[in-house]
Symmetry: C2
Amino acid sequence: MKELIENRISNLRIEMQKKELDAYIIYGTDPHLSEYIPAYWQTRPFISGFTGSAGMVIVSLTKVALWTDSRYFLQAEEQLSGTGIELVKMRVTGQPEPAEWLKMNLERGSSVGTDEGCISVNQFRQFESRLSQSGILLKESGDLLKAIWIDRPTLPDFQVYEHELKYACTDRKSKIETICNELDRSGAQIQIITALDDLAWTFNLRGSDVECNPVFMAYACVSRKETILFIESKKLSAELRNKLEAEGIQIKAYDELFNFLTLLPSTTTILIDPDRTNQAILKSLPGSCKVIEGLSVPCKLKAIKTEDEIRNIRQAMRKDGVAMLEFLFWLNNNLGIIPVTEYTVAEKLNEFRARQPEFKGISFYPIVGYKEHGAIVHIHVTEANALAIEPDGFLLFDSGGQYLDGTTDITRTIALSELTTQQKTDYTLVLKGMISLTVAKFPVGTRGYHLDILARKALWQHGLNYGHGTGHGVGYFLNVHEGPMSIRQEFNDQAIEAGMVISNEPGLYRSGAYGLRTENMIVCLKDESTEFGDFLRFDTLTLCPIDTKGIDKSLMNPEEINWLNSYHQRVFDELESLVTGELKVYLKELTNKLK
Amino acid sequence: MKELIENRISNLRIEMQKKELDAYIIYGTDPHLSEYIPAYWQTRPFISGFTGSAGMVIVSLTKVALWTDSRYFLQAEEQLSGTGIELVKMRVTGQPEPAEWLKMNLERGSSVGTDEGCISVNQFRQFESRLSQSGILLKESGDLLKAIWIDRPTLPDFQVYEHELKYACTDRKSKIETICNELDRSGAQIQIITALDDLAWTFNLRGSDVECNPVFMAYACVSRKETILFIESKKLSAELRNKLEAEGIQIKAYDELFNFLTLLPSTTTILIDPDRTNQAILKSLPGSCKVIEGLSVPCKLKAIKTEDEIRNIRQAMRKDGVAMLEFLFWLNNNLGIIPVTEYTVAEKLNEFRARQPEFKGISFYPIVGYKEHGAIVHIHVTEANALAIEPDGFLLFDSGGQYLDGTTDITRTIALSELTTQQKTDYTLVLKGMISLTVAKFPVGTRGYHLDILARKALWQHGLNYGHGTGHGVGYFLNVHEGPMSIRQEFNDQAIEAGMVISNEPGLYRSGAYGLRTENMIVCLKDESTEFGDFLRFDTLTLCPIDTKGIDKSLMNPEEINWLNSYHQRVFDELESLVTGELKVYLKELTNKLK
């Protein structure tokens, strides 16, 4: 592997020299700026051998550096060992950011290249501006790996299928009409759709091009004049193609987008989302076109779930709840009797979900953390690294499914034995945070960064905290991470609006000991309107018992106890008719009132 | 008045035409971008007749418009009546912002002027960028009123005095050395100090150039090479001038700043705070100088009070607490017996404070609101508009003093009779919010916009809210409103740090009925450090009983009741030795445990 990597880097340097580049940045995403990436765009592992899901690489003529975050420090050290690639730890004091590293290693007047097709407009702009302060030029140099990656995987050619109207709830025509209305309001004529989940939502189509997310590689342009889907024709059956064309949707080849943009009339006004559009698209627009920058219209529209979608999600939640209950029942019956590992747990979670109707796959790889593994926030469980689970301490599992009627994401932490006082306090404080956010009522206009403290306050009072966000948007039979809203400390100017579906997942991680997280999905609904404003609230979507063995009731106030009891009553009422026999008895036991 | 205003506007238009301007913006502040403004810079009332404390005016060749906020809608309507000046209501849906108004009223290619000496770099930049989108040019046209304002007041020439070291706690030399250290860290050589409170703090000097704020008109430049104070020489006594010069501080004339800047060596790196520096200063820098933009160093430094300053503030709080207690005692003994109006209350508040040692004046005009006047958030009480106060309903009073050892700002709302259920609920919810923020514990790095919800949550749960921020910084024998931090919904990237002194003032305003606000000053202190971070908390500085007659105890949780009881115990303990006789008995009565 070491020689292979060295060889690739030296080949890349030959290409860099041909283009007179002193360094080359590999951002490691795809032209749609996706979180999960098809093999063709797995450029970071190709050049560095590092297989973690986040990071970037910079190759200069004499050095190579890889940036990644704390989740992957150990893995990166191992995988980079012997390659001469420097590991730079992100968000660690004293470690240089990529632009700083370039400034330290390059002279004024140097040129740095990057593939403009795999970097967002805003990322390119920020890099360009920081480098220019030191007299370094950032160039759009194209994908240099094309010339050196001999056995590069092909682009995915999986078939696209329809998300049937009974699930999608709103037809394509209406969605496109709504997009055009929003374009009119913003003064733009064309929306270029580049994010794969925006695209899937707009056209009620789904695919299998990346793992866990039911999306497919394509672009689209929507305007009052025409709707064009840019997609490889082999991905569409003749039947589906005919159907789309009959609805007035033009089909063009995936790469045709760039020709189309180049030939746009000079008076066109185009809406570009600088965080969701790659730099190559912006550069291909005729200079005479007017660009309006703003949030992608389908990104905003799809985040506001319709009443029909929410009704369907509740149905998916019942199925997911049954699968979770079956898993809990299985674990309870088998732990201490047959060998159980973190890997078995992940497999079993997937297996019970797969039995449910309309299940289409998992929405992400289960995160299963027993004892000290629970404190590794994004642990990736394999057969090789899985811990054996004994009837002792905490087990954390975060998992989710893709159903035709909804995407789920749930975390539970359960006590496998009697707990210490500290364990109980920790568990209860995390639960208090989750409840506090759940029962919040707030005026229209409130941002996620206003609400985030509700999930942390109880922990903070005890000098505790967690290092991740509290909530992310969740797609509707789409990506499990969906924008534009979030509930976290970081500034995000998107208000939380009625119809948004968000996770609620405070946690606590004691390194080397255990990790705790309790996660429900919640939906924002309208509450009362008063002379002081229109108010919103949350309703919980997830239907699965919360382990009460970890609770220290003396730390909870009456409102919190009431919430938990009525939540458990609701879980029982919703799931009762879907289970029988011993499983129903177990459901009853898990949803009993707090003693 | 109407003719006078028309005459002034037509004179201004002649000046505009001489400069080929299609419109002229009067921002209404001074070269130091102050909140309180000397008469010389009262440009907004001069041109419009409107005397409110906030707003801006734009004069085009055919129209005049004035923007102000909801506090002043009624007053502006009255004062603008008959002048032909259009009132534009700020933050009201459908009302154009100034840049929009200009776009609506001017052709492409038009020129708009403004006095670059009275607008911040950032304000100028934002205006320029928005206008340029419509092909309108923003020009630095100087102060056009100079030519037409015949009887313009002179610049204030009040004497500057020293803030003695026993009060200032840190000598000038040390402060200047700290500023230079911070400059070194940011890579800049010179700090231009423009904000009057930054200046007063840096030099341990005070003045009387504006009402309520003990500041004086001057600029300064601080660098390792030299410290220069730009000030009119008549403002300094020979003795003070000699003393400053003996300490190595150069004194130059106020206007000399601009010559000095123009002649800076071309290699100089200058720190400019774009929110606290006027555009004229930026423009006067040689083009070859390097500008680093960032928060003014003394602005940040003075916000972090030293332990000595905090000890002194606690002393000022004891005096302020006695004055407040004397006022409460006087009101209790006289209400219903002699005529009492809102105006009397304001006068009495000032009178009791004035009896305290080291008192130097009020820190702002008392806001006194009886019944429906309480719902007018920034009511300005005059003898003419004051309501007579009866022993019925709520009375709100917000007031503060300038002492050599601290600036105070306190609001109390008291019940003058039995209350309705709604009144009690409202009062209790506001108090709950104030307590919730007071007892917060939070990690280093937390911003004010994270904490703001703590003060609102109880109100929000009842569909209530208030339309102002929760907390502002308070100066040390300086301005009652001080940056850079705040506790409010709006984004402000300044973290709350140990040593910061902030107000904590949630409220509730029922239009036409009553207003409620309870305000204490709090100081941020270090709390514990754990593996999860370094934590901070607040301690209350204000020492004055909170009226318990308005409290519905059933709405309060045990932690809140404990806080109130121990706060009252502390108020008693701190003030007891400073009062005697009936006043001490009254103090005991007001600080009794909640029944």
